[in-house]
C-alpha cells in the first residue's frame, strides 16, 4: 500500500511541524496544555520530594493527564519504531557527518543515536556516563528554572506570543551553541 510506504519514510518538517501544532490544539481542546517538563516535577512529588521542599507539595493528581500523555508518547515511540519505520538512518548534512567523524563518532547518522555514547555498555566509559547524568540534570534544572521546555516555551509559549518564552528560547540556543561548539568537541575527544 502506498500510504503505508509513505508513512514508513522519515517525515519532512512541513508534515511534522503542523502536526505538532495539532497536538497542542488537541491538548487545549481536551482542557489541558502542552508542556512535557511539568511531569518531572510531578514525578519528584510522587517519589516523595514534598518531604524536603514545599515546591513539590502540590496537587500532582490534577496533572495526571500529563503523565498519561508521556506514557502515550513512550508507547508512540515504540509503535513508530516497531511498525512505522524501515530504516534507522538519519539523513544529516555532510558537513555535520564530517565534523562528527573528526570527533571520533563512527558512522554518524547510521542510527538515531551514536551507540558509542547512548547505551548501557557505553556507561563503562566514565565520561559518557557523566554526559548522560550531567546533561539530564541540566535539562531538569534548567527547564524548571526557565518555567518550561521545548514544548511549553518554544511551541506553546511562542504560539501565544509570550516574551518570557522568546527569552527562554534564546537561552536554549545560547546554551546549545556553547555546548555543541565549545564543550562537546573536547568532551568527545578527551
Amino acid at each position: 500500500m502506498e500510504l503505508v510506504e509513505w508513512i514508513r519514510q522519515p517525515w519532512p518538517w512541513y508534515v511534522a511541524g503542523p502536526m505538532l501544532s495539532g497536538v497542542m490544539f488537541l491538548l487545549l481542546y481536551f482542557g489541558n496544555k502542552f508542556g512535557v517538563s511539568s511531569n518531572l516535577r510531578s514525578l519528584c512529588s510522587i517519589a516523595g520530594a514534598g518531604k524536603v521542599s514545599s515546591f513539590f507539595r502540590f496537587d500532582w493528581k490534577a496533572d495526571i493527564w500529563n503523565l498519561i500523555f508521556v506514557v502515550g508518547a513512550l508507547m508512540g515511540g515504540f509503535i513508530a519504531r516497531e511498525y512505522l519505520s524501515f530504516s534507522d538512518a538519519v539523513e544529516i548534512s555532510e558537513n555535520t557527518k564530517l565534523e562528527l567523524e573528526a570527533l571520533g563518532i563512527e558512522n554518524p547518522g547510521a542510527s538515531y543515536l551514536p551507540s558509542s555514547i547512548f547505551s548501557w555498555e557505553a556507561l563503562s566509559t566514565p565520561k559518557y556516563g557523566v554526559m548522560l547524568v550531567i546533561g539530564g540534570i541540566l535539562v531538569g534544572f534548567g527547564t524548571r528554572y526557565a518555567g518550561g521546555c521545548t514544548s511549553g516555551h518554544a511551541i506553546s509559549g511562542l504560539s501565544n506570543l509570550q516574551l518570557p518564552s522568546l527569552i527562554a528560547v534564546i537561552g536554549f540556543f545560547i546554551g546549545g551553541v556553547i555546548m555543541t561548539h565549545f564543550i562537546l568537541p573536547y568532551l568527545l575527544t578527551f
Partner: protein, 130 residues
C-alpha cells in the same frame, strides 16, 4: 491517545535524534528549524483563533491560555542551562520518554537525572535570581 500521536511524530520526524540536535546547533540543516518554525506558525494561528472566536474545550468551557510568568532572568538563565543539557543529551523532556519507547532504555538514566535536576531546583529556588 494524543501522547501516542506525539510519540509517533517525534520519532518519524527524527526530532529525538541526538544527531539532529547536534546538527541544529551547528546550523547545518533546516530540518529542526522547519519543524519548530512551522509548529509555531500554525500554533500562532491556532492560539489567535482560540482567542478571537472564544473557542470552547470539550467540557464546554472557553479555552483559557495562561500567560507565562514574566520572569526574564530565570527564563534566560534557566533557558541557557537547559540548552547546555539539551545539546549534551540530544533530548529535551518529551524525547527522553519517546526514546525509551524506541528501545533506548539508557534514557531512563537521563530521565532520573532530569528528575534529580528538577529536585535540585526545588531546593535551591529560593537562592536563585528570578
Amino acid at each position: 491517545m494524543t501522547g501516542l500521536i506525539f510519540g509517533i511524530i517525534l520519532t518519524k520526524s527524527e526530532v529525538i535524534s541526538w544527531f539532529r540536535i547536534y546538527e541544529m546547533f551547528r546550523f547545518e540543516s533546516f530540518h529542526m528549524y522547519g519543524v519548530i518554525g512551522s509548529a509555531v506558525f500554525f500554533g500562532v494561528i491556532i492560539t489567535l483563533s482560540i482567542k478571537r472566536f472564544g473557542l470552547k474545550s470539550i467540557n464546554g468551557e472557553i479555552i483559557a491560555l495562561k500567560p507565562k510568568d514574566r520572569l526574564f532572568k530565570s527564563a534566560l538563565f534557566g533557558g541557557t542551562l537547559f540548552g547546555l543539557g539539551w545539546a549534551m543529551t540530544g533530548a529535551c523532556p518529551g524525547p527522553m520518554f519517546v526514546l525509551v519507547g524506541n528501545g533506548a532504555s539508557v534514557f531512563l538514566l537521563v530521565i532520573a537525572s532530569a528528575m534529580f535536576g528538577t529536585f535540585l531546583y526545588g531546593i535551591l529556588r529560593k537562592y536563585l535570581p528570578h
